[in-house]
């Protein structure tokens, strides 16, 4: 074992020696610095490994040959080893990244960099408070110098602000230190802990001074203008070091100081952190400069970490896991993002669209952003989960709300930025080249995030249950992303079939239904993907990511697994959605609603775990602490995914703009995840013995109104896919309504709708998508007469709209019939009437859909279009077969469904007598009706065909038209705004007031952000005033 003092000795030895060795050139000194850093990394890694895996006990390093407190000592313990490893690793990678900048500035800059990293190590390890001061001064001075790596006035003024600010802070720190020495006669931190400094006479004020300066070093909001400037002004590679390494060290300093500050500080620390977290992320919203935005994000993340430190006693043994989980994610991700920002060199967020030229950079950027927000499989996911669980368990729900609010703010600007990168309008097309030494560190940190995510998950008992196999499959697909579609699609389909085959015996009937929808539906939608030529870069990994998440939800045995699957699904579907044209804003709002929903679910899981000894998903069946809130949160969370009214604004755009074979995935399949969640929640509420009738009553109304508004809005659409999207909202409204009834029949109806909606909405989206591919427009009024060109598509749409509208004899009627019976038996007449009203409204848009596209006048530019692709016809007709079987033999599906529902609602099911289903009020024989209608239809058709056998086929335009010939198909094809009268009568119901509401909310938040950030006037003196004012305020708050 190499003693940790060699970290210092190496850095200083090399650093001092370079003054002579610089004769050998800057490359030589650069290599020397790298060698020193790698040796330092090796030392801390060696300690980390020994302390973690070989159960070595922590080691003190004594300097001067005397024992503390008489001499300065360093400690290398478990946490120190992690922190120093992190600092040295990022130091090394950063040096690789900055190699050229440092070289350009000469050996002096190289040395300063090396010494900075060394000083950060000492900050972590030292146990002497004055030594802490000395090395924090070294850090400050070194940072102030290295800011100058970036040339120009901006970096100089930022550096000056930084150095005067840190000087003031260290003045306060020093006063605290000397008085601490004066009252205790020692400078050793362990002594302070031993004698509990704060209980000394005057100890509180001394601790206050020390603590406040340690906090100020971490740039708390709002006394942090000087700190944000350096993120913006310094060279990207160095911002990464500040954000990753300096932060780690400063947090560690705070941690050490908190050890002797006394528990009464914990609350204030947590509060300071929380204000910083929320405040910084709020201000991040208004930023359009990348680095500055990342700076706000960094400070925000530090705020969160400070809060965690404040809660360390409450979090108990999970505290290190949470702290390091979030810290490591932040550290890698933020370093990676800063480095990327140096490679791309686009200061304005909108200019980031140039990153698209190198898709692999997008992958890296996405990795970092998702890691920052806390998506699986990154460490922050597990840490945030544990944090929220523990905070809720200990009754700190308000804090959880704060954390989630801050995270949401952060998500807004980070995903907005990501959206610009993926989909923004690329104005400039200037080439940029990626330097090898710059991209390598980025790759290393990105891959480390994945690897660490896996290992972190294994670390904890309750996180080790995660099933990583689907994710591994996604990784495999990602690895072969360079292959053509044919191969990837086949592998994906085979993989999903195989996975379905292995997984289905493990699932109960409820989950099996959803698994069929998710996986079989997914496979069918993937078949359409064969249409694509080329590589379709990036599609398969994200599609499979979504499916991995979806199946993860079903397999989940614990709340963590469920949430893990949920987040994977959100991530995958986000990417699927943003792949569409013009879907930047839609994907953003999808992500934000999903995240807000996910946070609601997370909080609810936390509440559910109060008083439980297990993490099993079944804890939601027996929530002991504020159950009504928990269930409400769960429902709200899941309603974001089912796009209930009020939470639906993301859906129309997202579905409409998605690619042709993606729309069915995100509509017919994805929305069902929300349905599954609602089912789970309602089962949790006790199904038949449900005590939350008010909640489900509200839910029922919500469902009915969603159905009405969704369908009504669909009527007024001109974009075919948008129409279908609104229709999905309406259909999901029925489903929610059905489940909310909490009766056997209600659930049966809802499940029938669920299955039906999956089938007919898949067919519709696939068909319309395929048509759109042929005619190159979404607008229905630009189509028309396509029945002649695409009879197969027409038949598919015809059958599915008959099913959707609920007209007998197809399967949609089963749902309507069940719903009627359920409504009447439940007594929800008015809600029921609204639901049925909206069901009839569906006719309007269905007619518009089919007639505008397939009937009427063929447009001149479509005279040569062909039938839709065979790769679409195959899955469409497989689904049609399914639909017809359901229609002809409904008992095949309804009977097992009934059996399954009987577990939860034993009473009031259907009675089956052969094919005849009866309830206490109604009856229905699906098969017979099908036969009767079929025979009748056949007879009448033959009759008419016989009578009209001599009818002569005429060409287009040969119509009754006052003896004139219509001029163009455009003027003759009645489609645009066809329901104008209806709009005049009922259009007021679908005025976009919900969108307006959300827009207003967004604007208000942004205005607040814009207003608050004016405190950052850019004036260094103002920042100093902020710092001292902050001290004053905390002084008053703490001492009242």
């Amino acid at each position: 074992m190499v003693t940790p003092i060699f970290i210092v000795a190496t850095a200083l030895g090399v650093g001092f020696a370079i003054g002579v060795l610089n004769k050998f050139g800057r490359n030589f000194t650069g290599a020397l610095v790298l060698a020193a850093l790698s040796f330092m990394t090796f030392i801390s890694f060696q300690w980390f490994y020994a302390l973690t895996f070989n159960n070595l006990s922590e080691a003190y390093v004594f300097t001067g040959g005397f024992k503390p407190p008489f001499a300065i000592n360093l400690l290398m313990g478990q946490y120190e080893s992690i922190a120093t490893l992190m600092i040295n690793l990022i130091g090394f990678l950063g040096a690789v990244y900055l190699y050229k900048s440092l070289k350009e500035r000469g050996s002096d800059a190289q040395v300063v960099y090396l010494i900075l990293i060394m000083a950060l190590n000492v900050l972590v390890m030292t146990r002497d408070i004055f030594n802490l001061f000395v090395f924090s001064e070294i850090t400050s001075v070194a940072i102030a110098g290295l800011i100058l790596l970036e040339k120009g006035t901006r970096s100089i003024s930022a550096g000056f602000k930084y150095i005067i600010a840190t000087s003031v802070i260290s003045t306060i720190f020093l006063i605290g230190i000397v008085f601490a020495y004066f009252i205790t006669g020692t400078l050793n931190i362990d002594d302070f802990i031993g004698i509990s400094l704060s209980t000394y006479k005057g100890g509180t004020i001394v601790v206050f001074l020390i603590m406040i300066s340690a906090v100020l070093e971490l740039k708390p909001f709002p006394a942090n203008g000087w700190g944000i400037d350096i993120y913006e002004a310094s060279e990207a590679g160095f911002s990464a070091i500040i954000s990753a390494a300096t932060t780690t060290a400063s947090l560690f300093v705070l941690y050490k100081i908190m050890a002797f500050a006394g528990a009464e500080w914990n609350y204030y620390i947590a509060l300071i952190g929380m204000i910083t977290f929320i405040g910084s992320n709020l201000l991040g919203l208004k930023q359009d400069n990348t680095r500055r935005m990342l700076g706000y994000s960094s400070i925000g993340q530090v705020g969160l970490l400070i809060t965690i430190l404040g809660f360390k006693d409450i979090l108990g043994e999970n505290a290190p896991f949470i702290f390091f989980g979030i810290l490591i994610s932040h550290y890698f991700a933020k370093a990676g993002l800063f480095w990327l920002s140096g490679i791309i060199n686009a200061s304005n967020l909108k200019a980031w669209s140039i990153i698209r030229k190198k898709p692999i950079l997008l992958f890296l950027m996405g990795t970092f952003i998702f890691a920052l927000i806390g998506f699986p499989p990154f460490p922050s996911f597990f840490a945030k989960w544990t944090l929220v669980m523990d905070l809720v368990k200990t009754g700190n729900i308000v804090w959880v709300i704060g954390i989630l609010l801050g995270s949401l703010f952060e998500a807004i600007y980070l995903f907005r930025w990501f959206g610009y990168a993926i989909k923004g309008d690329a104005e400039k097309t200037e080439e940029y080249k990626i330097e090898f030494h710059k991209i390598i560190p980025v790759w290393i940190v990105a891959l480390s995030l994945y690897v660490l995510g896996y290992f972190i998950a294994q670390y904890n008992e309750f996180t080790s249950v995660i099933n990583f196999i689907p994710l591994a499959f996604v990784a495999l697909i990602f690895a072969i992303d360079f292959m053509p579609v044919l191969i990837k699609n086949t592998i994906a389909i085979i993989g999903m079939i195989f996975y379905f085959y292995t997984i289905y015996p493990q699932l109960d009937n409820l989950r099996l239904i959803f698994e069929v929808i998710f996986l079989i539906g997914g496979i069918l939608a993937l078949i359409a993907g064969y249409l694509h030529k080329g590589k379709r870069i990036g599609f398969y990994p994200v599609a499979l990511l979504m499916y991995a998440g979806l199946t993860g939800i079903l397999e989940a045995k614990t709340t963590l697994e469920f949430f893990y699957g949920w987040e994977l699904m959100t991530a995958g579907s986000y990417f699927l959605i943003i792949r569409g044209k013009r879907s930047m804003t839609h994907a953003l709002s999808y992500m934000l609603f999903s995240l807000a929903g996910a946070y609601a679910i997370l909080t609810a899981f936390g509440i559910a775990s109060v008083g439980q000894s297990t993490w099993s998903l079944s804890i939601i069946n027996n929530i002991q602490y504020i159950p009504l809130w928990a269930y409400s949160l769960l429902i709200i969370g899941f309603l974001t995914k089912t796009a209930s009214i009020g939470l639906h604004i993301w859906l129309p755009g997202a579905h409409a703009e998605a690619e042709s074979d993606v729309s069915p995935m995100v509509s017919a399949i994805l929305l069902k995840a929300g349905v599954f969640g609602i089912v789970l929640t309602l089962i949790g509420m006790g199904a038949e013995n449900n005590q939350y009738s008010e909640l489900v009553y509200v839910l029922g109304w919500l469902g009915a109104i969603t159905a009405l508004i969704g369908n009504l809005a669909a009527v007024f659409q001109e974009d075919a896919k948008r129409l279908l999207a609104y229709s999905s909202i309406g259909q999901l409204g029925y489903i929610v309504f059905g489940f909310a009834m909490m009766t056997h029949l209600g659930w049966l109806a809802a499940f029938t709708y669920t299955i039906n909606h999956f089938m007919y909405k898949s067919i519709l989206f696939l068909t319309i998508g395929a048509v759109v591919l042929r005619v190159k427009t979404h607008n229905m009024y630009e189509m028309g007469g396509l029945i002649k060109k695409m009879p197969f598509a027409f038949i598919a749409v015809l059958i599915s709209i008959i099913a959707l509208s609920g007209v007998p004899p197809l399967s949609g009627f089963a749902g309507k019939w069940l719903l009627y019976n359920a409504v009447i038996l439940k007594g929800w007449y008015l809600q029921g009437a609204i639901a049925f009203f909206s069901g009839i409204i569906a006719f309007l848009y269905l007619f518009k859909l089919i007639s505008s596209i397939f009937l009427g006048q063929l447009k001149d530019n479509h005279r040569n279009v062909k039938e839709i692709s065979i790769w679409f016809i195959i899955p469409i007709y497989i689904l049609i077969v399914g639909l017809m079987i359901f229609a002809a033999k409904p008992e095949l599906i309804l009977q097992p469904l009934g059996t399954m529902i009987s577990q939860y609602f034993p009473e009031g099911g259907l009675n089956w007598n052969g094919g005849m289903a009866t309830t206490s009020i109604g009856y229905w024989h699906g098969t017979h009706i099908m036969i009767i209608v079929g025979i009748m239809f056949a007879i009448l058709f033959s009759w008419l065909a016989f009578l009209s056998r001599k009818a002569q086929k005429v060409k287009q335009f040969n119509i009754v038209y006052s003896g004139e010939r219509p001029f163009t198909p455009e003027t003759t094809h009645v489609s645009y705004n066809i329901f104008a009268g209806y709009n005049k009568a009922l259009g007021f119901l679908v005025l976009p007031w919900i969108t307006d509401f959300w827009t207003l909310t967004t604007n208000i938040v942004h205005d607040i952000s814009g207003f608050v950030r004016r405190i950052y006037s850019g004036n260094g003196q103002t920042y100093l005033t902020h710092i001292v004012l902050y001290v004053v305020v905390i002084y008053f708050v703490f001492f009242n």
Binding site: I824, L830, L844, Y923, F941, L947, N958, T972
Partner: protein
Amino acid sequence: MNIDFTKLFFTFLGLMIVLNWGLLMSAIMRKIGARVAGRYGIPWFQPWVDLIKNYAVRSQITHGIMFYLGPVFRLSGGVGLFLFMPILFGSNLWSNFSFQGDLILILYFQFFGMLGMALGAGEGGQPHSFIGISRGLSQFTTIEVPMTLAVISLAVQYHTLSISEIVAAQQGGIMNWTMFTNPFATAAAMLSLLGAFGHSPFDLVKAPNEIPIGPPTEYHGTFLGVLRTNAAILHVVETVLFMNLFFGGASNWFELIIKSFLIYFWSVFVGMVFPRFRIEQSVVWFLKVPLILGIIAILLL
């Protein structure tokens, strides 16, 4: 399903009776209308003449397969409604196939013909068809609202969705009719009936003089014949539905004829008095008084 040929025969017979009664009824109504307007009117056999003429037209044109399917769907809708409707109370032979499905089936089967017709007409590419259909569908959505409320009210009142049982519950005197036991539901339904029959003021679907005859503009010859046949059947079946639900049903053909005539006359009567609504007017109209009546019917349960 065991095929009962006797029953099948009676079903066919019933269909014929209904068809002819429907034709006759339409002739009577037109005659009444003419007299009110001070004209002489048509002879009573005019509908038969028209029908035969239509079926006999020799030259026909078609716009495609869906153009055929439109009238077929339409007629299937009418015939299907007849098939699933118990015609006479207490008679197994005249109850058709009503034991395969209940009131909900009837309600939703109405859409079968409508939807098919809309699509068939659509293939013609005739702008007036589209206009007619869009008006028809718009109006239809709101017509159904009071009707739905009335049906729910009835189902709750009688605790069944079976039409036969609803009729059975109304036996034993005129005061047992739904008309008296649930007057608000009856009123709501009867107002929605006005829309369903499409007489003035709700005749903007076909809107003569405005968009020739709306959806079927492009249809002629046998196609038109089929549509006319359907219209006759449908009118009777719809009145029979109302009769069954609200006016005690009928235990013999005579009673059926009287009641269906009166119910049909109600819509003709209103049509004589009021001028045509515009679409937004009629949509809103159904969401006012009829809707309120329907809600009252529900709330009074």
